[in-house]
Symmetry: C2
Subunit: 561 residues, 2 copies
């Protein structure tokens, strides 16, 4: 979804006030990034990417728009990374491309993931490892870190204390009360902070519309177990490559059922290596084997733990589905488990993969069929717990589309926050905390910055509109060669069309119309190529509308010789 444009207006920051600029994450789920400003210094929380949807064809990634801070990077004290998901760390390489030495602050696992990412671009960042319970002074920002439970280990919330007030930014979180690693969201810590006074709460809105509470991650284990108990052939499980606890439960079930596990997919292999080295993933002796060994085992002694849970065509599972995987050919008897969410926008790709696997004979189990996934984000019931414990003066819902932000705002009001203290902001809005009251005071710009191939930011909204027109209707190009002096047609018209019709005769009726139109133009003394192009465009456009009721792009090409 393209965010609508609001005029840029950056009022001066009052002395002693705190400014908050969400550069991403409000209005769409992804590219989370928030800039805090106090006394001329900046602190950034998260720097993630957004994945494109059908309205952004051909785009690889969408970045936050760094423009409002690009000439102030020297003022940035640090980038605090709440956890290691792509929508929170994915844009770090693009920001460090502007200034390599901005310190990265985060937990051990988070920094390990971002460092692996940066190593691919030969960037060796400055890092500061923090953990829950610790505080760090980053310029004028006194940051205290809190454990939060999420679908990746070692996630943190951060409280940012300045003389202007205290902000609590939750990052992504949920409140599983019995997580696998025993590391619960620190509600007690939030209560203590709340008692000290929280002026502004920035809190994860992803599931704010959904009533109730999430089921514990550990309830998935028995489900996986029962699938393993029934499976007589090979088992392939796909999940997010950073969901260490999900993978842990798969490993445990495999161990229980006498199966070996092989990791497939670059990010799965890499991340599980990091998780094991940091003691976050516990692998029983000789449980994990390489692909070569795995391929020599009988089908009922192997589990393949794979990437591709979102239907990515080039992923390990995607290639298995199309029969293009180097090692694995799906056969009847295979059981495939997608132990993963279904990220909105990915439905078509995911179901395509499931259908291909089913067609090849596999039994495919996914979250709509069995409880093999729980969300990583607190729904409404849990968000109310947080609101009631923290008792913030102001609430600014973050990490969500409008529907989520609006729902979260309603929860805030229901929990007792004054409606005028609920700040529903959009990407690029400038929110100032002055005298205990947060409100939108301006707008810093909120362009979607598209990465397409090697280029960053050269794809514009109007270019995407062109792609959509081309993708829906193809184009008809009409080339005419005119004499540069007389304007007379000396070659063509020649039609070249793509995505419109394969009938070579299809365009015969329009050729004489073009010639007639240009002859009339010549008689009227029109020789300007631009005007001639407009004439050609009009003639072809009218013809195709009447004959086909379609709207391909019309590309008139008048070449002078």
């Amino acid at each position: 979804m393209t965010t609508e444009q609001t005029a840029v207006h950056v009022p001066p920051l009052p002395k002693g006030a705190l400014r908050v600029i969400p550069l991403g994450g409000l209005g769409a789920i992804g590219r989370n990034m928030t800039v805090f400003e106090y006394d001329g210094k900046l602190l950034i929380v998260d720097c993630g990417v957004l994945f494109p949807d059908v309205d952004q064809p051909g785009v690889d990634l969408i970045l936050p728009d760094f423009t409002p801070i690009l000439d102030r990077l020297a003022d940035v004290q640090a980038i605090v990374l709440t956890h290691g998901h792509e929508d929170h760390i994915g844009a770090v390489p693009y920001l460090l491309a502007h200034k390599k030495d901005i310190p990265l602050v985060g937990s051990q696992f988070t920094l390990a993931l971002v460092e692996a990412k940066l190593a691919e671009r030969r960037i060796d960042p400055y890092t500061l490892t923090v953990k829950e319970g610790r505080s760090e002074k980053l310029g004028p920002f006194e940051c205290e870190f809190f454990a939060v439970n999420h679908s990746i280990p070692d996630a943190l919330a951060v409280a940012i204390k300045t003389p202007a007030g205290t902000v609590l930014h939750t990052g992504d979180f949920k409140m599983d009360q019995l997580p696998l690693d025993g590391r619960i969201t620190d509600l007690a810590g939030f209560a203590r902070l709340g008692a000290e006074g929280v002026d502004l709460l920035l809190s994860d809105s992803t599931n704010a519309e959904i009533p109730g509470f999430v089921s514990p991650e550990r309830e998935i284990g028995p489900v996986i177990d029962s699938i393993f108990a029934k499976a007589t052939g090979r088992i392939i499980v796909a999940s997010f490559a950073s969901h260490v606890h999900r993978v842990q439960q798969v490993l445990d079930s495999a161990h229980e059922h006498g199966r070996k596990v092989a990791f497939i997919g670059r990010s799965m292999v890499r991340n599980m290596g990091i998780a094991r080295d940091l003691g976050l993933l516990h692998i029983p002796d000789r449980l994990v084997v390489g692909m070569d060994e795995a391929m020599n085992l009988p089908p009922d002694e192997i589990v393949l733990m794979s990437t591709g849970s979102q239907g990515e065509p080039m992923s390990a599972l995607g290639r298995m589905a199309t029969g293009d995987h180097r090692h694995v050919t799906i056969t009847p008897g295979d059981t495939v488990v997608l132990a993963s969410s279904l990220v909105p926008g990915n439905e078509t790709s995911v179901y395509r993969v499931i259908n291909r696997l089913s067609r090849a004979g596999a039994t495919v189990i996914h979250k709509e069929v069995a409880r093999v996934h729980v969300s990583g984000h607190s729904p409404a019931g849990e968000l109310l717990y947080l609101l009631n414990v923290v008792k913030p003066k102001n609430l600014m819902p973050v990490h969500g589309e409008w529907r989520h932000l609006r729902a979260h705002g309603r929860l805030g009001v229901e929990s007792g926050i004054k409606p005028e203290h609920v700040v529903l902001a959009e990407d690029g809005d400038i929110v100032d905390l002055v005298g205990g009251r947060a409100r939108v005071v301006g707008h810093a710009g909120n362009r979607y910055v598209y990465v397409d191939g090697l280029a960053v930011g050269d794809v514009s909204e109007s270019l995407l509109t062109e792609r959509k027109i081309l993708g829906d209707g193809g184009f008809i190009a009409a080339t005419v060669v005119v004499d540069s002096v007389t304007g007379k047609v000396v070659g063509g018209p020649a039609i070249s069309a793509k995505g419109f019709s394969e009938d070579p005769e299809a365009f015969n009726p329009v050729l004489p119309l073009i010639t007639d139109g240009l002859n009339r133009a010549a008689n009227d003394g029109i020789t300007d190529p631009h005007q001639l192009q407009q004439i050609v465009r009009r003639i072809v456009g009218r013809w195709v509308n009447e004959a086909y009721r379609r709207r391909p792009m019309i590309v008139p090409n008048v070449v002078e010789v």
Copy 2:
């Protein structure tokens, strides 16, 4: 999803055997159509459309491929329509365009909907109204009709009896045991038929993956009621325009809460008129008002019952979301209820509408937030009831993607059908019932027939591939004018690109490369325009890959003068 091509192979039909050819509905949800052949005569059950997904850009509708029966339309005894949904009746006008007088057989409401559709094309069909409990002899096909409960009134299953055996085709169904109209799926009738012997069961697979049972439609009433009780402003409800019972419950709630109702959207107004006339929709006196009257009522006295539940941008709700509706401007205080399913593939559009409504200040309630929708299709638990009551000798799952068909097949085996008597077929497969055994014996073709604008069937898969390339990367057209005799470049190269870059300087580096390449070609004596085009294509393609790592379509245009 493009169905993969299987070679066409049509073996002769053995004497006394029954042939079944699913022309649509297997491998994708939509374009349901099954052809039965016995003794040289044909019977068609349903004739629906499939709605395109992201892989079919610019396409309006997808039709079944009529090719296998086009030269045998004189043999068609009738088209039996099980119910009035578009994926079961939508292609009737396209088939009748080939032969207007094929009789349509269906229930009163089904025929009323299809007649309204045909009237728009000035086709006045031959019809035969049937109802549950009735039998009709259609050529050699003795058809008995059974009531089934679905998300539209007056749906029927059909048993087709021939000397070759009895087939039961369920159409779409679920088994709500307390439906609003008391018209339950006739399990007792199916039991009686089963006792007589069902050789082949064709049964709805849409929810075969989902465990359990559907909740009764009437449980939605209290949810709508509680939403109405809380709403202080205007209420807008969107649902499928044929879901009479859903609308009935909205009307009842409105009546209860002292609100008037206005229908918005062409199909809603039309269908509810038909339903009322047929006694299927019960409208309390003076409850329904026109839009003009509605606009003069206070917000808390009105309910707008609208189309647009699938995020269709041109629908009533879609226009409200963008602020383009003639009558209705969304304001804070409005409550919008999407009392509808979320058809796979429509997620992006539906959430976009919800976000726009939320941004405008509306409280939006949809099926993920409250139970305002139940499915119209039996999940696994109910399908087992049917299988156990009918005890068919052979099962052919229909109406589903591969994942659904496969899951339904597994249910069949679990219920006691021999695995070799479960026929997992695809669109176009030829299934013969010979001596009590059904099996795939050939393939009649299964092309997707695309409707795009006025044209039917002229858009091919390769054209869609061109559209996808254009939509993802745009195109770069390079026009060169060469002397037709010498092959020398006399004009250009000129670059014209769309969807690629807006930088007018972007193509400067490639122009000399093209000129150089063509000069070298001229020196080598190459003058053939086709070869010159290949040279230009290669030069531009290599340059854009190295400079951008992108793959736009390269369109070389060599014009001779």
